[in-house]
Symmetry: C2
Subunit: 191 residues, 2 copies
């Protein structure tokens, strides 16, 4: 835990935001909820849903934050992704697009970790427009097999934070897990 | 790549199977498909769906295997999970249940990697019956925040295979990706 905190202090960047593209309300609701929960649990501090507004998604995320603390400090929906990416870049931020067609994460992760630019991590659904590939500083593959944007985001953030994100707890949590070899132990936190 | 293969040769176990619990056809179709694709992409060689039969899931997986090669050599649906787990244990295998209520993955992963027992990795949906906790050799938490069984499985397998699984290619693949900094390049394989 101490190790995790020390590493966090050394990080040269502040913001890691996740931008979710291609969400179709209804069909993608649960997958996008998993993407948002992974963003929150694995240390990203912002989540942005491109193009559409999905109140159900917002509710799911708020419900989790109410019980388990405030991990996501910035949340937005219905954003034009190209405008958002361009603004991020103008503000000096870095843009990382996760895609199985990109370069292997192992070849670029050290460079990304060392750079002091804020990170915008883009995860798409089935078809991602060509312009996203062009705008990204990095098109990064989490292996070359088809799998899941949920898994890709988790692996990328785990490598970015060197595993320290798996010790995160958030302020304002009402619930807290006491690890058990065999069973479930959850305690309520007083504030 | 060579590093990955060498490590694979040193592994003291043969089988890593994923057992998916609590699947509700319809509602869970896409999440369970992502779980199965992660199992395949991240080096598990078997996938078992507990209790129910879902032909749509099977078709999705077969379609991927047809294009990208045979990763899953064992597939079964409608299995009684308790009987399956008990048989796995009688055959000398190890049972690892991924749950946010368990012990942190960092504390047990080295022991699991060193043991020569085949691994049955269990991923549940919302409610997992108490007996699964009791039957598992390890109840393992991928951090203590709620997130996603898709992410939990990916992180667990990534740690089990030390990242080498992200270089896997499977025999019989018709398609193969040529990594690109910016763009998509897929080639057809001749057999």
């Amino acid at each position: 835990m101490e190790h995790a905190l020390q590493e966090q202090d050394r990080r040269p960047w502040n913001r890691v935001y996740v931008l979710r593209l291609g969400h179709r309300p209804g069909r993608d609701k649960r997958i996008t909820t998993h993407v948002a929960l992974v963003a929150r649990a694995f240390g990203a501090n912002g989540f942005i849903l491109a193009d559409v507004v999905d109140e159900g998604l917002k509710e799911s995320l708020l419900k989790i934050e109410k019980s388990w603390g405030r991990g996501i400090s910035y949340f937005e929906m219905g954003v034009n992704p190209v405008e958002y990416i361009n603004k991020w870049k103008r503000d000096g931020g870095e843009v990382i697009h996760l895609t199985m067609y990109g370069v292997h994460v192992d070849f670029v992760i050290d460079e990304i970790k060392r750079s002091n630019r804020d990170k915008l991590v883009i995860v798409g659904a089935e078809k991602v427009p060509r312009i996203i590939y062009d705008l990204a500083h990095y098109n990064v593959a989490i292996g070359y097999q088809p799998h899941s944007e949920v898994a890709a985001l988790a692996i990328f953030l785990d490598k970015l934070f060197s595993g320290s994100e798996l010790y995160l707890e958030y302020s304002g949590a009402r619930l807290r897990i006491i690890p058990e070899y065999n069973g479930k132990k959850v305690v309520r936190c007083r504030h």
